[in-house]
Amino acid sequence: MGKVILGNHAVSYGVLVSRVQTIAAYPITPQTLIVERLSEMVADGELDAIFTKVESEHSALASTIGSSSVGARAFTATSSQGLALMHEMIHWTAGARLPIVLANVNRAMAPGWNIWTDQNDSLSCRDTGWMQVYCQNNQEVLDSIIMGYKVSEQVLLPTMVSLDAFVLSHTAENVDIPDVKLVDKYLPPYKPEIKMDIDDPRSFGALSSPDNYMEFRYKMQEAMDKAEDIIIKEGKEFERIFGRKYGMVEEYRTEGAEIILVVSATIASTARASIDSLRAKGIKIGLLRIRVFRPFPVKDIARVLLNKKKAIVIDRNISYGKSGIFFDEIKGAFYNIEGEKPKIFGYIAGLGGRDVTPEAISDMVNDAMRKDKPEKDIIWSGVKL
């Protein structure tokens, strides 16, 4: 059933069938296999693209910005420290309204030096104007690259597709690689209205005074608002053609639930096993997986969590001095919404790649069930003190 491929290679195949035209990249563990496979595809003539080797991640994204600016469908990939080094260009990509897709393998930030998964690298890019997608399996990784271009090229904001280090990047599983001709039907060639063109000269990235800078930012926010509808619309169109369903969020066994577990990325996949075993014990619990973090799915969160008794958020990340980042955003999303709000518990788990098992997830749920209300904003799971 399907081809058995690594999460990293699912990215490469997603890029292949999206007919990406330029790739610039710098190697970093655990991302390197993505661009290694792409370089082979380009060398073998399987993918008609320009592959540029660069001297740093900053240059990788700068080069990608250049090719996107002249109207190419452009791709790069990175992880952790590499994404951090790109940060100046991360802001630039969104501000320049370039529909670049970047694959980020979620890896913990150093020090201590660590190559395993958590989300602090990509979540540090929260306020840059990039859309962010968090994947739970290799199929979703591949599909999200294709959908990323489809959405980005309509709203003119870049998309960051995140996959967990090792748990996806180096794990092989069944993946259906869609036929490129079928992808062509879904994703037409990129034809920007405005691009850098020597026959049609314009100014790009020029000085923007206090008199007009704010309007550019207003339009970025407007595009982000529009993106939510387009992600939903294109998810449905994707399902129509390829038979796989994607939206802003995903629900699992939420019908009749009194408690909702809210998780992202691969912990959300493992959590299904916990939900099944808790349901078998008669506990009325369901799962809400946050798939898209930017734009933030406020409407879906309110719809699923209102009138529930408790929400339990598991974060594989932390905003030091505050709390888990998804926890904070979910709590904030409710403040001005009318309705019966759940007690929201925020757990931090799995930092730096510490394994999160179905039993660990059930332990967090059981802990929240024992308590009337959360006593603090951070509850640490499995920390050795």
């Binding site: 058995v4 395993w116 967990d164 748990v167 996806l168 599983e173 098992t357």
Partner: protein
């Protein structure tokens, strides 16, 4: 769902064996996962690779702590690590060795033992050298015979997909292991 742990030494091809096994099982209609011990690998040091094989889509993405079965690519590992750690009672231990299952009395009480002389089969098929035989493909023939997670034809296609050289010899080695694996009772 069954969970399999492959014990090997860095450089011995345990990860490739895990990938080929997953691919073979997928070709016979299963959902699969294959992953290495996440992190750094040193040549010669004990390393693990993991497989999940199921009739249903696999959602669990944590590591495997209680495998149903273990595969041992190098019998000298038995002296240096506890290969049965976490192994479920009644599970199979498939060992590359020139001994017979009855020679592993320490395992026979709680587990079932199958043995295969994968080294001899590898050398017979000119896979690797006497000092470093390539046993990772041969042992898969024994694995699918005992655990019934795939069939010979699917395994042959999978091996050809993941092995860059001597494809026919690797397939032949796997087929010979399929015929030569020694075990007692119902697999």
């Amino acid at each position: 769902m069954i969970e399999i742990l492959i014990h090997g030494r860095g450089g011995q091809g345990g990860v490739k064996a895990s990938l080929s096994l997953a691919s073979a099982a997928a070709k016979s209609g299963k959902y699969v996962q294959s992953f290495p011990e996440f992190g750094v690998e040193r040549r010669g040091a004990p390393v693990k690779a993991f497989n999940r094989i199921s009739d249903e889509p696999i959602v669990i993405r944590s590591k495997i702590y209680n495998p149903d079965h273990v595969v041992v690519l190098d019998h000298t590992l038995i002296q240096s690590i506890n290969i049965t750690e976490g192994l479920k009672k009644g599970g199979w231990i498939i060992i590359n060795t020139n001994k017979k299952p009855g020679d592993f009395k320490e395992f026979c009480k709680n587990y079932k033992v199958a043995t295969i002389n994968a080294k001899e089969i590898a050398l017979r098929n000119r896979l690797g050298s006497r000092a470093a035989p390539i046993v990772n493909t041969a042992i898969l023939g024994a694995v699918i015979k005992v655990l019934k997670v795939s069939d010979k034809e699917s395994l042959a296609i999978a091996i050809k997909e993941f092995v860059p050289v001597k494809r026919e010899e690797n397939v032949k080695a796997a087929y010979e292991a399929y015929d030569e694996v020694i075990f007692e009772g119902e697999a």
